[in-house]
Amino acid sequence: MSEREPFEPRIVAFFCNWCTYTAADLAGISRMQYAPNVRVIRLMCSGRVDPQFVLSALREGADGVLIGGCHPGDCHYQEGNYNALRRFEMLRLMLRDFGIEDERVRLEWISAAEGDKVQRVCNEITEAVRARGPLHLTVPSDGTAAEAETGSNVQPLELVGREA
């Protein structure tokens, strides 16, 4: 991958439908400005964030991943955000052993009323990742230019849905 100059971090954000995504809407309606580096993906619940989603985002070129869910006790599905937390804590430890710094992957509880927190957290992770620089993954390739561009024999990702 060619070096991006000047470096602008790419952040993928997984926001839950009931709290954090609504908060992002509130931030928008309230005309709060925040870093455009964050690409938001809406999920029904932070508990739906499979660790595979986080790794896929990093694999596909994200420099950081943000997960947003309801505050503890407020989950629309009772337990979803706790499951997100359990997976996140273990994933964070594992990512350290992959050489991926803590600043690149973040979990935040943001209620539907906290548009300002969306603004703050998006700005913070963007700047934290900017300070760390681009994430350099080395995925399989035999070194030929064609393979380097297409990512070699890597299969297209189909993370959602069932097999036919």
Partner: protein
Amino acid sequence: MKPKVAFYWCASCGGCEEAVVDLAEDVLAVVEAVDIVFWPVAMDYKLSDVEALDDDELAVSFINGAIRTSEQREVVELLRRKSGAVVAFGACAWLGGIPGLANLSSATSILEFVYRESPSTPDGDGVRPLEETEVPEGRLVLPHFDEDVRTLDQVIEVDYYLPGCPPPASLIAQAVTAIVEGKLPEKGSVLAPDVALCAECPRADTKPEDLKVGAFHRPYEVIADPETCLLAQGIVCLGPATRSGCDAVCMRANMPCTGCMGPTSRVIDHGAKALSAIASLIESRDRDEIAVLAEQIVDPVGTFYRYSLPASLLHRRVDAASATTSGSAKS
């Protein structure tokens, strides 16, 4: 005419070869049904014998081991040309296997450790393997040691996958039978059942409906009850995230599943899915408590990606080029 078959090994331990022998008397039926034309570990054929074959003359090549050197790449590329079908045989060929954990380190740091830093290496002799060496008798060459470990299908096209470390004899026999009878499934299939291991575990009935774990243990730390679900005893067992087909031999021997059968077809990244399955069991809603339990998984990459690091989404440690030999894995 009997179908011609080749066996080859790459970065592997020899256990997969052993598994073929483990067919016991069934191996005679295999030898009866097919013509083995290349099997370096067991029979005296030369690479030139393979080179002399027509393209696609081999019905099938069974290739075990991950790919780490130029020699392995050259031979598997040759076998690919000569074979109608290639079977990635065992966890290493399919997913990278145990040798794949070397992707936590750089090639340089591995060579540095083995030829300089290891306690059994004499200090200061400065001897390193060179790819080319001139000696009075002529020029000697060694294969190139690649920067990373790759799975077989990251190097050549693979038609089928036989999982396991090593593949269970029953699955090998079924695969060979399918090949001989020409009843092979869709290309790209993993030749094993496509459900999680818990489905065939003899302890499945003791797995609680709402399984929660208050502390994780490593197998040596506790004496496991031989009847009860190992996860329910806090022992990290990857059964819920691993493919069945091994007849749960480890659980029958009172040991947890370490994931050698790989993931089911709905999973992209075995380690991430295994992590997800285990983390969800943590019996706490408190961030600090959860962190304490998560830290009880010593060496998470080695635990969840024990057989699949090269096939994983991240493939290798990000800064492996500058990492030390041991990576940051806790000892």
